[in-house]
Amino acid sequence: MPRTAAPWEVKHELLVKAEDETDPRFGCKPEERSAEELIKYGVINVDKPAGPSSHEVAAWVKRILKQEHVGHGGTLEAKA
């Protein structure tokens, strides 16, 4: 079987339909968000050790960062 490219190996081509400008008064670039906004619209790439479940780790992150909502991006197995 010839090896197929994984999604992270695929290059995306950008096509421009029209030009426009964005008003600096509204919104803000993701990297310029305030600390509070960064937390509110943030993700953490956690190195989860074997043992505790994803749900447990989410609960710890919630407590450490004093956040109301913390989710995780999927478990390995029902018991993981």
Binding site: R3, L15, V16, K17, G27, V46, D47, H72, G74
Partner: protein
Amino acid sequence: MTLGDATKVVQALLHSGKEYVCVMKLHKDVGIEQIKKVLGEFEDNIYQRPPLRASVKRQLRTRRIYYSDLLETDGRKVLFRTGCEGGTYIRKLCFDIGEVLGCGAHMQELRRTRAGPFVEAGSVILHDAAYWFMMWQEKNDETFLRRFIQPMERALDMIPKVHVRDSAVDALCHGASLTAPGVLSFESSVKAGLMIAVLTLKDEAVCLSRAVVDGNQVLNMEHGFVATTERVLMPRGTYPKRWKSGSRKNE
């Protein structure tokens, strides 16, 4: 982990490609060349029925294995790295590899090394996260937070993107479909039926949408729907409202 309002982006990660490093235990001795050959045979579309203990409907489905590379063997233990479509069961894959080898096999250990754009190399341990969070509170220096918290837009890195005009943003935040006049640029990988990320010119995420046309069609479209909004990520009112109910859009 997703924080606060970013929990909505997990949608984009669940179906994204994954990479694992796995220890498979063979039930009999098998030569390395034979193992390599069979791993290679599985670099394809494979059929899997979710295991008994699964959180999804147990019906036969296909998943793509992009690559399976043998890293090391130690007796009957086989260490390999595999890149696959989201929703692939590695335990099943190991069992099936064992069947094809004729010796039987099971999965012994598993570690995910990638979920969509997030790789193991860029991950942080909880101890560091807790320490940096405390340092941010004490020193009031945001760089501590930025060491481990990334903007939610990072999670969208690998799904096709569409950039829209400021004037289209608030309508999208209210759940309206994306129409052709609002589109400024898009990636050629946009395909009808696929999930796409809608961004502003400042690269902020507006929403996750389902494309209804292919990318190459959008270029020549003057009106009509491009995508339907599925998950709104930006709060309403971030950009000014530029639409009137009951009449055509202002711009």
